[in-house]
Symmetry: D2
Amino acid sequence: MRVTFEPTAFENSFGPYQAVLSLNSGDTLCTTTLDSRGRDGDMVVRGRAPNPLTGPFYVEGAEPGDALAVDLLSIRPNRAYGYSSDAVAAHVVDATAVTDLPERGLAEWAIDQAANTARLSSPIPALAALELPLSPMLGCIGVAPPGGQTISSATSGSYGGNMDYRGIVAGTTLMLPVSEPGALLFVGDGHAVQGDGEIVGMGIEISMEVSLRVRVLKRLDIRCPRGISATSLFTLGNARPMEQALQHATTELLRWLANDYGLDARAASTLLGQCIAYDVGNVFDPAYTVAARIDRALLSR
Amino acid sequence: MRVTFEPTAFENSFGPYQAVLSLNSGDTLCTTTLDSRGRDGDMVVRGRAPNPLTGPFYVEGAEPGDALAVDLLSIRPNRAYGYSSDAVAAHVVDATAVTDLPERGLAEWAIDQAANTARLSSPIPALAALELPLSPMLGCIGVAPPGGQTISSATSGSYGGNMDYRGIVAGTTLMLPVSEPGALLFVGDGHAVQGDGEIVGMGIEISMEVSLRVRVLKRLDIRCPRGISATSLFTLGNARPMEQALQHATTELLRWLANDYGLDARAASTLLGQCIAYDVGNVFDPAYTVAARIDRALLSR
Amino acid sequence: MRVTFEPTAFENSFGPYQAVLSLNSGDTLCTTTLDSRGRDGDMVVRGRAPNPLTGPFYVEGAEPGDALAVDLLSIRPNRAYGYSSDAVAAHVVDATAVTDLPERGLAEWAIDQAANTARLSSPIPALAALELPLSPMLGCIGVAPPGGQTISSATSGSYGGNMDYRGIVAGTTLMLPVSEPGALLFVGDGHAVQGDGEIVGMGIEISMEVSLRVRVLKRLDIRCPRGISATSLFTLGNARPMEQALQHATTELLRWLANDYGLDARAASTLLGQCIAYDVGNVFDPAYTVAARIDRALLSR
Amino acid sequence: MRVTFEPTAFENSFGPYQAVLSLNSGDTLCTTTLDSRGRDGDMVVRGRAPNPLTGPFYVEGAEPGDALAVDLLSIRPNRAYGYSSDAVAAHVVDATAVTDLPERGLAEWAIDQAANTARLSSPIPALAALELPLSPMLGCIGVAPPGGQTISSATSGSYGGNMDYRGIVAGTTLMLPVSEPGALLFVGDGHAVQGDGEIVGMGIEISMEVSLRVRVLKRLDIRCPRGISATSLFTLGNARPMEQALQHATTELLRWLANDYGLDARAASTLLGQCIAYDVGNVFDPAYTVAARIDRALLSR
């Protein structure tokens, strides 16, 4: 079934809140997300920072121990105005070598969906000609955390959250470990474009129209988010420091290869040693995000 | 001038050793490297672990404060036998979740240059059909370190070294900061293939024929290695933990954009925030390596 | 006023739960805590892992922006049986050098309050004569986290939590930043003894009788826990990795010296550079804890 | 035998340099060290930054695989002028919370050995009454590194080096792993006082008179520095980040307890879990230093 949901209230944490809507496994949901400061497609402030979330959506039949698959069908900006920041975070540079970082200000962008471009509308002469292709993604996607916790949409964990990984795009399926009945899916924090690491603390922040399909994968024991894109399998480690995020992602990819592809630790090590790719999701939020990826083509043989 | 040099002795550190050959800026050098355990193209043991290095090569006119550009013209395995390891490092997984890591053993590979493939010759049934495209690279490339230091070829730093970054391939130009007269260039530790992070501690280790051109870039003040590929500019941070490697790389990319592209910190931050890419070179050696990259197309406008 | 409270229900998270009791600023509370697995002084299981918490206690007049001072008057084991673990965590040793870590088992201890000693009751012959002086502390103490979050008692943050710092002993005053009306104080996870770092994942775990006084410090803007012992001021950074915990603690100590002792950054730096002490609270929990300390005697002059 | 040596040349790295003097095992050496900027007890500049080293001293009979014990008999400032810095390092605070760090300037100190005090001679009114007890230590002590390396006196490693640990005081015995014939001992970088972490990048820097005894411990297989003080055994991990330094130190302490005290991993874990203490040597130098300590009294029973 295809369900359209227009949100009216927004949470700022992932947690076991009262669901706003109940979906069946297999349903497609069309909804919208606010930008990171709470403005909608008409620039009306309807939520508050940080990262107001649309949801939670209850998925019938999802129980602790299952995974929730989310097929991201479409993620599209629903307005022309985006914004980012103009200062890299102090902690991503050598403090003694970079002493001219500006006070963090806004950079503003004009989003042209027809042309599929983002162009600066802020006056930065050196970047006057800059034209970036859009790659719309969700910074926040996740379910209710384990143990009945309620955790700010500023950070992430095994349940997903504010991962700010630029692989969360249309065409990708994300799988999330279910901790609460109904899973309780949230989405938000859309970015029209984002660099690796989200090193200015923002992508090009914008409100979105999102279309996604939910599917319950019974008794699929996953420990952190997994994704399938057209070309890759990936896992997402969310932790600080980067080493721990990388450990979580690598571990989950080993589990996946063992469980679904019959590769024991020796075979999987041999393969991943020469074929794994790591992506840096974010190194800005309280928990960092690192993705471990492998080409599906290497596994289909 | 084109110079061919057949090495007869191999160092295991980057340092101010007596040069084996003197080159002029602009010369092309054709030489060979041993594998990480010291065997040459005929499987004759001629050096010793770790990572025996060919060099150092003295480049006329290179002085402290300059950079040495190395145009990597060709990197080709000169035998058919490669080897890697079959166990991911304990520190790249969650110790409590991954308890079946094998004792680290060898995986052996057949390298077919005509077909451009690597295939396992070790008996790992689950990977019997695995066929990887070759992407020959140098794990070690660097000059003499600053301050007269002599540093093991197991690690890396501002001078380059054992960076194990899979972007060090033919077609790339690498720039290294000169600390000693003549720069004193070393190369070694070829990999026919390598995954991000070098998480099994090895690529597909193999001896190589290497062709490269050296050029002295006078008074080019770089702080760590920079590279130019067909599509990208990149910088290499070598440090532990990953965050510090990332800081070094990001800082050097900001310096590059400021000095050569006229982007002040605000403009560069705005650009990199949405466009930077990070690659994970290695997370195995004493110093880890992270690359910060940006598409050249974004800068040419 | 002196209030005695016998808890009957126990939370496993710090969060804005319904208070179990309301206290006035200045009141003394006498209560008990379960051990980390939920057993009370009679070894009756009354709560569940991890770290069941006594509370929350509402303190009249405490509002966001205030600090809650907790004078720890007495922390005493209320039974003779304690337990710890017999295996250091895999992540506190070099994986390649330490290959004989046991499966994590229990070590059991006899607690003798009259003699003030803990002795192993588990049969470990090499430690048969070991006799440790008691130093009873609370592993968990904190208030409701900011932003309406509900966070597991397995970890810690700016609100306190499972800090596992062995300076949380009787005679110490701890100050916590208030985020919710009434502060909502929780205590639990008593340890009869604990080493730095809590590297086996446990102190000598035991149920406790706790006596403490609460005081509201209006408009005291603190960012993480502060403590005052007989000899020292200290601040507690709770984060991962250790560097970030150390940053938080150092930053808060600088704020304290600036606000209460009139030391600007230059004076405080000069002093702390030669006089700061760091303690390692825990390096086991999801967030690590580092304390920054300075002798009060250096400040009274 | 008691040998007095007045140094005339100073190295800035630990490495296999030509020895300045040969000692026998059991000899006592009396010598002097320059301050970190190269000035001697008369304020004459005789060496250069960073950390000019006295040595190396060849110890007869010391061979790779042995340990060199250094009994620190006396470490005394040989002048009245010391200096430190007045700005904590940017990386030990939260960049967003501490925005008023001064440019790093000098703080100057009057060292009074009769009174055993350090007092500021720089005009910092808020610290006018500050009087610190002297605790003279060596920031640098080490032997030639493994593998023939030559490594800057700005950093440290398994061979010792610039550890900046305030436990390196008179009355302590330090043991260092020998990598080169004769061990090749270096000392330097005296501090009259130092805080944990060396967070301003300096102790109270001063030239010293040092008296020490060397002893060769044949076939004592140690992996990083070990120390014995009046009350404690300690081990020193030198690495970045802090976690790795802590791992090295913990691992070496486990090895020590196994080899010399008969404690297997289970017994040692049980003991250390409740009794280990960690000290933060430095968090400023390229490699950080963490000490793992245990009371000798716990082991003598």
